[in-house]
Homo-oligomer: 362 residues x 4
């Protein structure tokens, strides 16, 4: 397996859910950049589980130790390396799963590919826990982007059928994109948030889970970042986001909705405003021909419902070659979307910061 | 600019819409593989414009010349290189566009990034014409996949509000995925096709354009291809597909619809059938944890409406710094989705063939 | 096969010795750079064979046609693509070699790896002819480096036992590194050149061939280009140079000779000169810790003698499984080193220009 | 900075000499491979300093902790991650060096590139200490190659003017290449070793240091690994070896000596032996056209003398802009070549194992 991505800023994620530790190496960060480790910890705590009704009751501190790359809070140019120790592991929960794959999980495909040697415990390297090191690197990228005048923020756009308001794709501000992330439940419209919390609670009560959509926007990206075809902004963000477990769809600007529009509706026209070229709408999500146009970059990612549900499910016993009923035990989120909001911010920040540095090489 | 992608099988696309030629280099194809050049030409003709009501009246033969990599119809192991001469070019159509960017096109972002030196003529390297070399490489990948028992095919899932039937994600066959591609208008349900043709004609009559969605499926992919996180099947297909101009969304299996499902609905359960593990549904689109599970790989790509419309549009004159009205002249498809069907097949085949070879290195 | 290299500036070389054509795609060159095509042709003519006593009597124009990336002599930002048609091909010369591998050539290893499908004619993709597209890309890199104030030039440091003078590693100037390349026989000391020409003529008369060493220097590289460990200047230059057929050794600065020195002799000490830090020697070849120090970058590449000799050689008939005597027919250089001088310049220029652009991304 | 390399098997090295720790992530190792951690520790101890006359008196245990990728001594498919804690650090030794660069070290170039933020302590990320994580990954690659029937071993070919015997390039066996590594002083000819030890002691007594050459051979590499041009075996090995601090030259087979030979001498001819094609000599170092030919792969790397010497040296005070005399304090090897032998084995094993896996993808 390889869990690395990036061209100038490249990350490599390691560890399994129940191995000695998990972590990330982050190459390519320039020397002399100040990293506020307190803010990084605050960012990581947004992802950490913590007894909220929508999350698992596990307690995880998940504080990273930096082994290299930072001296007195300032990057020294060497690769950043951070490690989180795995402490609260309960391997006995997972023994059965080697034989009986959980529907919707990677148990079956991992068994086919890696065979008996794979580390099934806690989901191994497939665990959502591996998004913690992604958030370390992404949280640093968020600070580095901020130093370049770029603000990245996300919110829950939808849980099941309950929709939040959307970011104003054209006029959303840096404060605007960051506002949802400062709330315990990251939405724009708190009333919608209440309805989402209720929907999650209902699913949990039924031993079930729900999916959703996260919207992320980057404000302040200069025009001219990205390239046509395969090095475009969409492709880079999409590949990063599909690296987040449970993401099954990614769209930009009007996205799938653009298929419903006429060209005359979807085209974002230009006007001069105060001597500068200004867009009149942002159906393109800030990207034309793979290149940023200076408008906010707007992306949405669809998350499938948590595959781990406590209801009995049909599966097979691969050892015995017969059908089996499965009850997934252990502690699981009835909805991963809430905790995935900072993960989406992290993923987008990493991709955008890499693209930004790439655009400076020419 | 770099227009290259792939790890083992790597393509590099070159040329501009009105340069001497366009083409592709395709590295990593094993030696000794038979390529049926007649079938390749037939495949390319599906992308070529040809006087249909839904396409531009330009005539383009677009027959590739192979400069290397193939001897007597068999790959010799050296990189494949194919060139298409550009002949039917009308550069005068595009002179104004250097100053006045067309809404929805890359004119503005390319000007910001590459400045006055960029080749604006015909859209330069941003032109949809660059999907022709993508189809050469992809058409070869389709044949190579077929030799491995994998069939890839696509159809128009939607034009505006008109929907085609969907592939049966669980039971679609090799013949089934190839069937739409053999029709002049590639849909499953011809009645839906008629309605789509009418919708396109209507948009054309109004000087406008429409978008749509293409669904693509791969049947016969063995389980165990792809890796977790950033080297997963979803990310590789998405990065390739977002390299196709006008794509603004990509989803797998239930995709954005998965956000509407409970876990108990979305999870694909397992049963033993004839001594083998068999899925009971395919909401995952054939991919779990980034790895194929043996079910058909199902992906959909959303295309925005053609930005080139003949209706007057608001823009700016960047040289004079003032507002300008723009009428896009020239010959343009009122809907790129029809001709994009083989492009999506090509893109998916390239990504899947690369992933298949990668899975053999370990 | 993949014949591509580079990170920001990436080239992909295609074609076989006797296929329809050979060429190169060069990605990542910034837009708006002036390319003097006349100078490029003059540079390419230095590599072309031409009836000199030290080269094959074949006549090859090898003029490239640019299919994309250049408009009116200026780069437009799109990938550069250039093609050279193969015209003067004599495939009948090579038929026997599929069975009876020439000692010192890739015939045997290519047969093992690619089997009967490989294009053995003229050496296929292994032919020294593939250095022509390398010189196209490298010739462009030389001009681009010159625009950045960097001069790259090479000379024959040795043929057999005959040695040229060496570049003054510390004080060589831009004119100095370019001087040998302007001569028909590229050496510093013309008397040494005469002796080399005699040595080559002697080998040719004996139906034999000779090897040699080429020294290349880059003057004007700013300090701070390159990175420690695997992205260092040495590694990038070496990987590029070992891509040139017949290169069997690469060394920097004092190179293998550094093994004979004490640290007190090999260390290049510093002094202040006119308010600037100045090196007192250049045993490091301009590179410390993988990073340029502002002194000339000095590299030497060892070339083995041309494996194609007209003397009878021992080989095997792989089809019949028996020993065979081989006489290599056809037209071959008794010493490739002379024509390899511009190839080494091209290779070094490509690696250095890529490194230079990389150093700007951070 | 990025300290990563490899295509299928990719390593990323992190940490600084005096940071909390150093380590390596190693991606792409197949699942189910047994790793003998005791043998790995024994291999690492060959690199560790330990009071021998030729090394620094520092004591370093350098035992790695595996955070992921190995379960009960067997690879699980996830990336391998190993960390070594830095304990015996004496930062006060290095304070002066930020201003006054040590000749022959990266102090000056790192200062130019990374500025005041760089971690100068102990050499930071430029320290030879970073070869410890390289040896962890390489020690694993050595075991994995052994499981494929490939033996890799090295010896000191030369210290100053004292030469060891050479490996018999054609007939050396697996046991033969491993034999020197089992000795405290890794040479073939122990008498030569005694003379080398004396030469090192002499240099140390004079407050000086000496360089040398290491020869490495791989026995059992199957024919057909590697590709022409830039993905050849030479280029991959060279880029890896130039990533080792102090390496200034790399050559294969006859190497620079091939420049002294006639083609009729340098060409390795073929004969049938017991029904198989057999080479009669191995001047090519086992590589033709970038591809292994089944003979031992033979490579030599030249190491410059340790730049850290206790004799006073001329340097500059960059802060005050004036000349300065420098005495390097601290504990340093008078000759890094002895401890570099396992590092060269590690580097070669990593490159060869990656190439071997690459050759299986097609």
């Amino acid at each position: 397996m390889a869990s690395s991505i990036g061209k100038i800023v490249r990350i490599s994620i390691f560890g399994q859910s129940h191995s000695a530790g998990i972590g990330v190496v982050m190459e390519g960060v320039p020397a002399g950049k100040k990293i506020d480790l307190e803010r990084l910890r605050a960012f990581l705590s947004r992802r950490a589980p913590g007894g909220m009704p929508w999350s698992t009751p596990r307690k995880e501190a998940d504080l990273p130790e930096f082994l290299g790359g930072i001296v007195d809070g300032v990057t020294c140019g060497a690769p950043l390396a951070a490690v989180i120790r795995n402490t609260n592991t309960k391997s006995e929960d997972y023994d059965e799963l080697r034989r009986i794959p959980r529907p919707g999980h990677a148990d079956y495909t991992a068994q086919v590919k890696y065979g008996g040697a794979q580390d099934v415990s806690g989901g191994g390297h497939f665990s959502g826990r591996l998004t913690a090191p992604l958030c370390i690197a992404g949280g640093i990228a968020l600070q580095l982007l901020e130093q370049e005048g770029v603000a990245v923020g996300a919110h829950i756009a939808r849980i099941g059928a309950v929709c939040d308001a959307r970011f104003d794709a054209l006029r959303v501000t840096a404060d605007g994109v960051r506002a949802p992330g400062s709330k315990a439940f990251p939405v724009i419209d708190d009333a919608a948030g209440e309805a989402m919390i209720a929907a999650i609670a209902e699913a949990r009560a039924a031993g079930d889970s729900v999916g959703g959509v996260i919207e992320c926007a980057a404000v302040g990206m200069p025009a001219g970042v990205g390239e046509p075809m395969f090095d475009g902004v969409e492709g880079a963000l999409a590949r990063m986001l599909f690296g987040v477990p449970a993401v099954k769809g990614v769209e930009f600007g009007a996205g799938f909705g653009a298929a419903d529009l006429f060209g005359s509706q979807n085209n974002d026209s230009y006007r001069m405003e105060n001597g500068r070229v200004a867009l009149q709408s942002n159906n393109a999500g800030g990207i034309l021909g793979g290149i940023t146009n200076g408008a906010p970059v707007v992306v949405r990612a669809a998350f499938k419902p948590t595959p781990s549900i406590s209801r009995p499910q049909m599966s097979v016993d691969m050892e015995r070659g017969q059908n089996a009923e499965l009850e997934v035990r252990g502690r699981h989120d009835p909805c991963v979307v809430v905790r995935a909001v900072p993960v989406v911010e992290a993923a987008c920040a990493l991709a955008l910061y890499d693209l930004l540095l790439q655009s400076r090489s020419v």
